[in-house]
């Protein structure tokens, strides 16, 4: 992974000193809150419902054991002994105190971490495929590109005060696990006919209150043109993006209002101008970054222990059936550690779990971990013969749930239990659904399904791209949950459709049950997934089952 240079460490320590001074001036009154607020947001510090919240950057979801240990220490020293891994591959601490935040940032800087630009109207954490550098289906590792964009966008003076937040995502695989088409700019790594590296560039995707799928503005952009092209996009956005209305300020609205053809023309024209300003020296930087992302020093050896454990241990077989992802080295695998233990808060880990994960990674995953936007932790490079030992170690810390990709592997935002913006709680709904289907012992029968819950219209829980999405609203002061169907965050991007009127808190889980029983009843065979069945049948039969209307559709 990327290794900080002296420039990087100096930048971090200067930034900490700068924020320490800003906090001191806020406390002594020389800075008003109005002056301080944009500064604290650019350092990841929010005010939430009960307390401040600090969002620490985990660039493209990659961290090493030392860094995970540091996060655990911060959780213990400055917070309540746990952290929350987010849908943008970051970590959030829910209970920091203002005067201690500079010390938290200093502790992060010691391990080459930061909270820079995790909030504010600027370029945020660049997200990437959480199996980057490992996945068997990858064309190339997207993380050098993500790191390149991170460095370019950090403290970029022209783009420090955009109309609104700006999010990049990069995938190195045609199987898009980074949800690129729902980002302000999505990049898909490609190669041209001569094997030259480049990107398909999409602009104007987003979730939130007006979900939109990104539009392709460039089918193939050579890698050497990446920075001038991104500058062109941001310059056009800076010029056209609305600053009069917060709810129309994202680039997706700009694309929608300007039209794809016109905005592409503007970007391409600006790109030609910007390209003359780049002399190619940025490519030296890219190549140096790329060198830091070399393949791990793979170990060799038999995979016999893996095979025999699968034969002899049903729990291990179940775990390896659900929680592994194919690695480019056939003797290796990537393990997804579920932070969705039935009944627990999705995405949370205690400090002792973090420490144990750090040690497991140091011992068996070449010192590397990932955070996925689905709020799980990945051990990207595990030799198959070590998987039994990893499984045993995960069991000891209560993180061996074999539910990846199943109905209890729910994305859920923190919701009204924590978030100032929320209109409903989401954690309790996630816990209730997970527990219910665990009780019914139906998870494996139901098969692959992505259920996502947002506690308000800002959609941080990604409900729009859930096969089943749940949106928590409020009606007459009471929580009301709307179900959406048919969302898809992969390269077959689709926005879910609202099924019908919302459900009260005590009704939503029975409604989801009826929905799932309808699927089990209607599917062609046990291999037809929920999403496939929905695409074949449409919403009507599911709607009839959930709302229990008279006209039950006959299966096609």
């Amino acid at each position: 992974m990327y290794a900080y240079t002296k420039f990087d460490t100096d930048f971090n320590s200067d930034r900490v000193a700068q924020f320490r001074d800003q906090v001191a001036r806020r406390i002594d009154g020389s800075l008003s809150e109005e002056e301080f607020r944009p500064l604290r947001l650019m350092n990841g510090l929010y005010l939430m419902l009960h307390a401040y919240m600090l969002r620490v950057a985990i660039p493209y979801g990659t961290l090493n054991s030392v860094q995970m240990h540091a996060l655990a220490d911060i959780a213990d020293r400055f917070d309540k002994g746990y952290g929350h891994f987010t849908t943008r591959q970051n970590i959030q601490f829910n209970w920091p105190k203002l005067q201690e935040v500079p010390d938290i940032l200093a502790a992060l800087a010691k391990v080459d971490m930061h909270a820079v630009q995790t909030s504010g109207a600027c370029v945020r954490n660049v997200s990437a495929d959480h199996f980057a550098g490992a996945a068997a289906d990858e064309i190339d590792d997207p993380r050098p590109t993500a790191e390149f964009i991170r460095q370019w966008s950090t403290d970029h003076p022209e783009f420090a005060f955009l109309p609104r937040k700006f999010k990049f995502a990069v995938t190195g695989s045609p199987h898009d696990r980074a949800v690129t088409k729902m980002h302000d700019v999505g990049l898909r790594l490609l190669q041209d006919g001569d094997g030259q590296p480049g990107y398909e560039v999409s602009v104007g995707g987003g979730l939130g209150r007006t979900p939109m799928i990104g539009r392709t503005v460039r089918k193939f952009l050579p890698r050497i043109d990446l920075l001038p092209y991104l500058e062109a996009i941001l310059q056009v956005y800076n010029e056209l993006g609305r600053r009069d209305n917060k709810y129309k300020a994202r680039i997706k609205i700009t694309v929608h209002e300007t039209g794809l053809e016109e905005i592409t023309r503007m970007i391409e024209a600006r790109f030609l101008q910007q390209r003359t300003r780049f002399d190619g020296s940025d490519q030296f930087l890219f190549d140096r970054i790329r060198g830091d992302f070399s393949a791990p020093d793979y170990r060799h050896g038999t995979c016999e222990d893996f095979q025999s454990a699968r034969r002899l241990n049903p729990a291990f077989r179940s775990f390896t059936d659900t929680n592994l992802n194919a690695h480019k080295n056939p003797d290796y695998t990537s393990i997804t550690v579920s932070l969705k233990t039935h009944g627990q808060t999705p995405g949370d880990a205690t400090s002792s779990q973090m420490r144990a994960l750090a040690d497991i990674a140091a011992r068996w995953s070449h010192n590397e971990l990932r955070v996925s936007h689905e709020q799980n932790i990945i051990l990207p490079h595990v030799h198959k013969n070590h998987v039994p030992a990893v499984f045993d170690a995960l069991k000891k810390i209560g993180l061996a749930t074999a539910n990846i990709g199943l109905i209890s592997d729910i994305i859920a935002c923190p919701g009204m239990d924590y978030c100032d913006l929320a209109t409903a709680r989401s954690i309790n709904v996630a816990q209730g659904i997970a527990t219910r289907f665990d009780e019914l012992k139906l998870e494996h029968d139901i098969g692959p399904i992505k259920l996502k819950i947002s506690g308000c219209i800002n959609a941080c829980g990604h409900h729009h791209v859930g096969h089943i999405g749940i949106l928590g609203l409020q009606k007459a002061g009471v929580e009301s949950y709307q179900i959406t169907l048919g969302g898809d965050g992969t390269e077959n991007t689709a926005i879910g459709k609202v099924m019908g009127p919302g459900f009260a808190a005590e009704e939503i889980i029975p409604a989801i049950e009826r929905l799932i029983y309808a699927y089990l009843d209607l599917r062609d065979n046990a291999q037809e997934t929920f999403l496939q069945a929905y695409r074949r049948l449409g919403a009507q039969p599911f709607k009839a089952a959930v709302y229990q209307t008279q006209d039950k559709a006959n299966a096609a």
């Binding site: 806020r26 406390i27 009154g29 008003s32 809150e33 005010l47 419902l49 009960h50 307390a51 401040y52 309540k80 829910n94 209970w95 920091p96 105190k97 203002l98 005067q99 808060t345 009204m416 239990d417 924590y418 929320a422 709680r425 954690i427 309790n428 816990q431 409020q474 002061g477 009471v478 929580e479």
Partner: protein, 99 residues
């Protein structure tokens, strides 16, 4: 002419700790919702919010929240958000609900 509104209180977060606080009649801040000054008309409510905003050295993000009254005349929260602010999250035993 004063307009009648639902009863309101001023609430904010403590600048340093981030903890939820409520404005008392004497301009001090309490951790307890029941000690909040209850404002019964719009002009008084707007005036007290303005007063709160002058205390930027103590609190951050003050706003007016509706309130109900209990049988002994103390303000009690009447919406989920404000109920949550008096106790903390429902998924963990953290925040105000801990003693």
């Amino acid at each position: 002419m004063t307009h009648t509104v639902d009863n309101q209180i001023v609430t904010a977060n403590h600048l340093l700790s981030g903890e939820v606080v409520y404005l008392r009649a004497d301009n001090s801040w309490s951790n307890a919702h029941s000690e909040a000054e209850v404002l019964t008309d719009k002009e008084a409510a707007d005036a007290r919010l303005r007063d709160a905003k002058k205390q930027g050295d103590v609190v951050i993000s003050p706003y007016l929240a509706g309130t109900a009254m209990n049988e002994i005349g103390k303000p009690v929260p009447n919406v989920l958000r404000e109920r949550l602010r008096t106790r903390g999250p429902t998924n963990r035993f953290h925040g105000k609900q801990v003693g």
